[in-house]
């Protein structure tokens, strides 16, 4: 009897349903989603390109042909710390961009959130929907960005130093770095959505429905 009562009292939103709803929200606001995804994509591409470029340069410096080593040694000095600053800044801009876009989304969907709460949605559901939506954009943007960043740099090296570079690609560390960049991209997109999601979940349904945007 107690068990039955417990089942009766359930208020649920399965991950599958949440995923479907988030995906639909992205599709319906496709234009804005593309912009957010592109910004994550660019940030991650930049990060991957710096990591890849450093990794290939290091490998060439250690094992590469003499003439390439000489060229690399002349440009290596001092450029690394500047790169780190640039990457950090670009990723920060990314977070701000995502937060801004998700905040817009929250204001726009005030009524929708209120309605969902009237239908029995818990705060948790609303948070889950927003985080999922952002994470989905993050996953797509990060994978595309990592791919673009890495292939871009590899092509650049090939053009600059010739086909010989292909024998000095540190494949394992490249894979590791792109994995790290993708992970960071996803984390950033989730981070950007945390505050808007929290804000949206805290609205009283009556107030959310009344608010005109």
């Amino acid at each position: 009897m107690a068990e039955e009562e417990k089942i009766k009292r359930q208020v649920v939103l399965s991950h599958k349903d949440a995923f479907k709803i988030s995906l639909r929200s992205i599709r319906i606001r496709f234009g804005r989603s593309v912009i957010v995804t592109a910004s994550i994509c660019l940030g991650v591409a930049f990060l991957t390109s710096v990591l890849t470029s450093n990794s290939i340069s290091n490998n060439l410096l250690q094992r590469g042909p003499e003439e390439i080593r000489v060229i690399l040694q002349t440009i290596e000095e001092g450029s690394r710390s500047r790169q780190i600053w640039l990457v950090t800044l670009s990723l920060l801009v990314c977070v701000v961009g995502i937060t801004n876009s998700m905040l817009m989304s929250v204001t726009e969907r005030c009524k929708e959130i209120g309605t969902m709460k009237c239908l029995g949605a818990l705060n948790r559901f609303v948070i889950e929907l927003f985080i999922l939506e952002s994470a989905l954009q993050g996953v797509i943007g990060s994978f595309v960005g990592a791919f673009i960043g890495m292939t871009g740099i590899v092509i650049l090296f090939l053009l600059r130093y010739g086909g010989v570079v292909i024998h000095f690609l540190p494949l394992l560390s490249l894979l590791k770095y792109s994995f790290f960049a993708v992970l960071l991209g996803i984390v950033i997109s989730i981070l950007g959505a945390v505050y808007p999601a929290y804000l949206s979940s805290r609205m009283e349904p009556a107030e959310a429905i009344r608010r005109e945007v």
């Binding site: 089942i7 009292r9 359930q10 208020v11 649920v12 939103l13 399965s14 349903d17 639909r24 929200s25 599709r27 319906i28 009524k111 929708e112 209120g114 309605t115 969902m116 709460k117 009237c118 239908l119 029995g120 949605a121 818990l122 705060n123 559901f125 009283e204 349904p205 009556a206 107030e207 429905i209």
Partner: protein, 246 residues
């Protein structure tokens, strides 16, 4: 058989703050609503109808006083229990329909069932059935913007009834509809009220609603002016509508 009480409102007060000015919207409302009753809360705009509606629906917290739904004090419920109450016990209908724009009619109706933990196939089946009942059997895959106002409100009615609630709360359900469609929605609500025995509480200033109500609660400036039984009303309806026409 003694009638069961489904909603009890005791000395309900609500204040809002507009900057530093305190606004008393509800000034001590006492109301009891029986199971299966069709109640209209009438009053001019600004009289506190919607505020009362929000309090009864557990959508807003009273400043003072108590709201009991099925003998449970709403103020004592935690977030989870409140969500459960909104999901299973109460169905809401709004003036502005408030359908989720990205979802089809069917998905809008099945959403509360998803929250209630009903399986996918079962909820779809039941959703189609309810949409047929409200006369939208051929529109289940349409998005809200592809439907007329009256049709959207029918979807909202179907959604409100999805989890077989004990109470339907309708805030100006006919406010955005023309005369004929409004009448249709009122009749639909009355039909469901009779068939399923749910209590229907509408906040409205639509006089068409008087015809189907068991009781009418008139509020003005945050207090109940008078409560009229249907029997007393019959005589007056013609009179009031006559005034309107004149």
């Amino acid at each position: 058989m003694p009638k069961e009480m489904v909603v009890r409102v005791m000395d309900l007060r609500k204040n809002y703050f507009l900057g530093k000015i305190r606004l008393e919207v509800l000034k001590g409302i006492e109301l009891e609503i029986l199971r299966g009753e069709y109640i209209s809360i009438m009053g001019p705009s600004g009289s506190g109808k919607t505020t009362l509606f929000n309090m009864i629906g557990g959508l807003d917290k009273p400043t003072e006083g108590k709201v009991y739904i099925d003998e449970v004090d709403v103020a004592q419920l935690d977030a989870y229990e409140l969500a459960w109450l909104r999901c299973r016990k109460i169905g809401y209908i709004f003036q502005t329909f408030n359908l989720i724009p990205v979802m089809t009619a069917l998905e809008n109706v099945t959403l509360p069932m998803i929250f209630a933990g009903v399986g996918h196939d079962e909820s779809v089946e039941k959703g189609i059935e309810i949409l047929k009942t409200v006369g939208l059997g051929d529109r289940i895959q349409h998005k809200p913007f592809e439907l007329s106002g009256g049709q959207q409100q029918r979807v909202a009615v179907a959604r409100a009834f999805a989890n077989a609630p004990a109470i339907i709360l309708a805030d100006e359900p006919t406010g955005n509809l023309d005369l004929k469609t409004g009448k249709e929605i009122i009749n639909l609500l009355k039909e469901m009220n009779k068939e399923q025995g749910v209590s229907v509480i509408t906040a409205t200033h639509d006089l068409k609603m008087l015809d189907v109500s068991d009781r009418v609660v008139w509020i003005r400036d945050g207090i109940i002016e008078r409560i009229e039984e249907r029997a007393d009303l019959k005589l007056k309806v013609g009179e009031v509508e006559g005034e309107e026409a004149g």
